[in-house]
Symmetry: C2
Subunit: 140 residues, 2 copies
């Protein structure tokens, strides 16, 4: 059970943008650090933009800016935006992939776990990350 790197990169990006709010648009160049491929990050920022979490300014001197209040933005907003909603397995989400849906105990249990993960993700806000001790700016 793994979250993909998309989620991780998405968090990095949002964290960076929140930390640099009010400093004007941040370029892809700025946001990406060692180990984060720029062009891949670009895709992910596209997801975040389409979800309304970041706004962009195109053209020279352009870049990305956070578009929401870090106090109100939960991890779930971010994860859902970059990875899509979590689905523990097909039978738990789409109604028709399994004949047994409705009465299947596995399905029931899956649903319970999914709900619980979502609730936990909603509890954690972007601002909570900002408040974490962090040695230096380099730790984006």
């Amino acid at each position: 059970m793994k979250l993909s790197t998309r989620g991780k990169y998405g968090l990095y990006a949002m964290y960076y943008l929140a930390a640099h709010a009010g400093e004007g648009p941040q370029t892809l160049q700025n946001i990406s650090t060692v180990g984060v491929p720029k062009q891949y990050l670009e895709q992910i920022l596209g997801n975040l933009r389409r979800a309304g979490l970041v706004s962009t300014v195109r053209g020279a001197q352009g870049g990305y800016q956070i578009a929401t209040d870090p106090q109100e933005t939960s991890l779930r907003d971010i994860i859902d935006a970059v990875e899509g909603p979590i689905e523990l397995s097909e039978c738990a989400s789409s109604e028709h992939s399994c004949q047994r849906s409705g009465t299947c105990p596995v399905r029931w249990v899956w649903q319970r776990v999914t709900d619980s993960i979502n609730q936990e993700l909603e509890k954690i806000k972007l601002v909570d990350m900002l408040n974490q001790p962090c040695e230096s700016e380099e730790n984006l």
Copy 2:
């Protein structure tokens, strides 16, 4: 974010074995139903056996039996056995995959979510599945 089918099949199998406890060894044939490939299930039952959750009897008239108390067996035991412990991403689990470990806020948040998922999985016991309404035996 998806749980693999291994987890699902593992749950099916444990559910089946719990429901047929005391009826002697259940063969792979018995346990697998439509849509669950026998040879794949065999691998998964191997994981469960090595984790001590099922016991086996080899040879003719042999099969699999549940080896634990469904009241004490949590989903986490099962999932960990068949999929390995959950790791949301490398940086959150192995110490040395990232220079920033220790101070990275992303790492912190990842750890929080992982802990919370594990706690939830521990709360749900196999017996809770057995107590779920279930239309018929066929719904293993």
